[in-house]
């Protein structure tokens, strides 16, 4: 017993030493924020580089390529941006450990563009407690924008999934009254947000959801769900799925001879390779005429072939992301976010502080992000903390998406 006591004393003494050093580090932070020197800014982020969701890592790669491009042109106010993105395998428990590494060991100035809904919501408490800016989280979760007062350091980027679902609902109500909708959705917040938004948008219209089937991300296919949905007699098929499940949904519908009049496919799945694979070399006609939401310039859309921003995009990809597939729209997403951050850093000025950056982030007004569709303004201020709230619809024709109609702005009911 006595040895235990002695050990405990020894421990506490040892720990005290370590504790004191850490506490003084916290105090020193007030003088100059971590991660900033006169010549550099250190940013961190998490993304799935491995595992079934590794396709999302293109977002981080696109952003990194854009930072490299900015650095080659002298950086921001003389500072070069260094962006460290770490693999979390899309596992939130790994996200928090990776964030601690970034904040406590690498001492990043800010966290930028971390990917995933649960992942961002989880680290939000930690980053706000630690006072680290949590910028342009790559998730469409509604709470990122709604709870800005409680989480002064956190902000999202893209339109919320609810807003996207709402747009599809409104679109159906206006253009196809009487249609019956079958929904395949991912059984988590992301899929449910889209489904709820869809229902909200078609509220009090003649459109209704006749069947909704969830699937688990651990599943191996969605055959049973699509077979059920087919039997519902719906004429519109909404696919609120990610990655290969979206492809499977198209292929299985085709295999079962189901020809819904219209297929809606949410933004996350609109990456070009999903549609190209789902076309099965042109034999799958279900794909033609699919409708999806868009707020980025799609690299496969011929409309942007001569657009200066997309030319820049292709140059940056070729020079700073060698070997990456430039047709993958996730890269554009990363660049759009990186562009926005660079603008924020420019305006925060030569004396760069975390507080200064947050002040800029809370009052954004950028009408000219060249990677977003023309007309979309990135705007925050007061209680409105959703940076992007506008979207457009696009249709898959032949081998590319084509945008149609005007911009839709989400108005919460």
């Amino acid at each position: 017993m006595r040895t235990r006591l002695a050990l405990a004393t020894l421990t506490l003494a040892a720990a005290l030493v370590a504790g004191v050093t850490a506490a003084s580090a916290g105090q020193a932070a007030r003088a100059a924020d971590p991660g900033v020197t006169p010549t550099s800014i250190l940013l961190g982020g998490t993304t799935p580089l491995s595992g079934p969701y590794s396709a999302f890592s293109s977002v981080a790669r696109g952003a990194d390529a854009y930072f490299d491009y900015v650095n080659a042109r002298g950086g921001v106010n003389g500072r070069k941006i260094s962006y460290t993105y770490v693999d979390d395998a899309y596992n939130p428990a790994q996200t928090i450990q990776a964030m601690r590494t970034l904040v406590e060991q690498d001492k990043v100035f800010a966290v930028f563009n971390a990917l995933g809904t649960e992942h961002n919501l989880l680290v939000r408490d930690y980053l706000n407690a630690a006072g680290v800016p949590h910028l342009f989280a790559a998730s469409g979760s509604t709470t990122l924008g709604l709870d800005a007062a409680r989480y002064p350091y956190s902000i999202g980027f893209q339109p919320s999934y609810r807003a996207e679902g709402w747009m599809y609902g409104k679109f159906l109500a206006r253009t196809r009254p009487g249609s019956r909708v079958a929904v395949l959705f991912q059984n988590d917040d992301y899929g449910k947000d889209l489904l709820n938004g869809l229902k909200q948008g078609m509220h009090r219209s003649k459109v209704k959801v006749v069947a909704a089937e969830p699937y688990e991300t651990t599943a191996f296919d969605v055959q049973a769900q699509v077979a059920s949905l087919r039997s519902s007699g719906a004429d519109v098929f909404a696919i609120f799925a990610a990655g290969k499940f979206a492809i499977q949904a198209y292929v299985i519908a085709n295999k079962l001879g189901w020809r819904p009049k219209l297929v809606i496919n949410n933004v996350v799945s609109s990456a070009s390779n999903v549609m190209l694979l789902a076309s099965e070399g042109g034999t799958n006609r279900t794909v033609q005429g699919s409708v999806s939401g868009v707020f980025l310039k799609d690299p496969t859309d011929p409309k942007w072939a001569k657009d200066p921003a997309m030319r820049l995009y292709r140059t940056v990809m070729a020079r700073y992301a060698k070997g990456a597939n430039a047709r993958d729209v996730y890269h554009v997403y990363g660049m759009a976010a990186a562009y926005t951050l660079v603008r924020v850093l420019e305006r925060a000025g030569a004396n760069l502080t975390r507080a200064g950056v947050m002040k800029q982030v809370r009052s954004l007004n950028i009408a000219s992000n060249p990677f977003l569709l023309p007309g979309i303004t990135i705007k925050t201020g007061g209680s409105d903390q959703f940076p992007i709230e506008q979207m457009q619809l696009q249709r898959w024709e032949g081998k590319a998406w084509r945008a149609f109609g005007g911009l839709w702005g989400y108005r919460a009911a």
Partner: protein, 356 residues
């Protein structure tokens, strides 16, 4: 004075020396490293527990991640509360509860499972590990579903951004975590040692070496197999509880199938019995996951010549490296690190006796 006294004193002294080393370590490493080593402590505890089942009784389990999940969720639910519970239990008081709950579930599972042997038990436990995340997700009202339970910022949590006051000393979060995890682990080791050195340990080993022979020499197979299962589950439950406190979060993905597989891998790397072995196994599986996350290029030193101009930053690289290491380990070190330590010890002793 040589003989029995030395034989019992030596391991005790070795243990005390190791414990002292563990407790003074935080003074020499960064705050952040202390947090990483706390996780190593957690895995060490889980491995000590699984070793009771796999090492001593020879039963293969591919499902002990599920017991960590049960422990982790017990802690999270007790602390955060939900519709069923008022919550608000201070984190450290939930640790023994987590052990008891996981141990009870382990006991209940052990009852039917003891009819299975070898590969069949491996498959059955594997089934448990695979099913657990989906079942957790299903009972959303209780477990928070896929979103899980976030403990960060709870007043009942001693671990947080603000320093913790322990017996008048101020410890910051990471060091508090380190001390907590390793204290529980060392206590766990001592308890396991006490349990295994006596009659129970002998009975466990008899079960492993030959069930039929054990049966005929009067060992009650059912009792001891179930006991081993319950004990190992309880240890993993406590480890899961510590994991929840350290991560301040649980969700179904926190305890994936891979965790169960890693635990078995860790036990095999650790080998039978020794604390050093268990720590080595824990380091192996912890850094396996870390380097997974950080990319191999940061972990593999540049001078490693055989890798030449191979792209070690590929996300697939760590899995390849660990797969190869694991297979090679099974070839050259079937006894794990503990076996190596024992062999080195034997060589040293032989040398000592020869040299006079």
């Amino acid at each position: 004075m040589r003989g029995p006294a030395v034989r019992t004193l030596a391991p005790v002294l070795a243990f005390v020396a190791l414990a002292v080393l563990i407790y003074v370590l935080p003074a020499f490493v960064s705050d952040f490293r202390a947090q990483q080593f706390a996780y190593v402590g957690i895995y060490t505890l889980a491995l000590i527990g699984l070793n009771v089942l796999t090492g001593y009784t020879g039963q293969i389990s591919l499902g002990h991640g599920a017991f960590m999940a049960i422990g982790g969720y017990t802690t999270a639910i007790l602390m955060a509360g939900n519709e069923q519970f008022s919550g608000g239990v201070k984190d450290i008081w939930t640790i023994p509860v987590a052990g008891v709950v996981a141990g009870a579930v382990g006991f209940l599972f052990g009852l039917p499972a003891l009819r299975l042997s070898g590969l069949y038990l491996a498959l059955a436990t594997f089934a448990i590990a695979v099913a657990t995340p989906a079942v957790i997700k299903k009972f959303e009202g209780f477990t928070g579903g896929g979103g899980g339970i976030n403990l960060f910022g709870l007043p009942e949590l001693t671990a947080g951004i603000t320093p913790v006051n322990v017996l008048g000393f101020e410890l910051n979060f990471n060091n508090w975590l380190y001390v907590l995890c390793w204290t529980v682990t060392l206590v766990g080791y001592v308890l396991a040692w006490l349990l295994l050195r006596g009659r129970t340990g002998r009975a466990f080993r008899a079960v492993r070496d030959s069930e039929t022979a054990a049966l005929s020499s009067g060992v009650n197979l059912a009792t001891y197999k179930t006991l081993a299962f319950a004990v190992s589950a309880a240890y993993c439950g406590v480890a899961g509880s510590l994991f929840a406190i350290a991560t301040t979060f649980v969700n179904p993905d926190t305890f994936p199938i891979a965790l169960s597989i890693f635990l078995l891998v860790g036990v095999v790397v650790a080998g039978l019995g020794s604390l050093v072995g268990a720590i080595a196994g824990a380091i192996f599986i912890y850094y396996m996951q870390i380097s997974w996350a950080q990319g191999m290029d940061k972990v593999i030193p540049d001078w490693l010549p055989i890798l030449g101009d191979v792209d070690t930053s590929s996300p697939g690289a760590p899995a390849v490296v660990f797969g190869v290491i694991l297979i090679l380990l099974m070839f050259v070190l079937p006894g794990g690190v503990s076996g190596l330590v024992a062999r080195l010890g034997a060589i040293a002793r032989r040398g000592y006796h020869r040299s006079p």
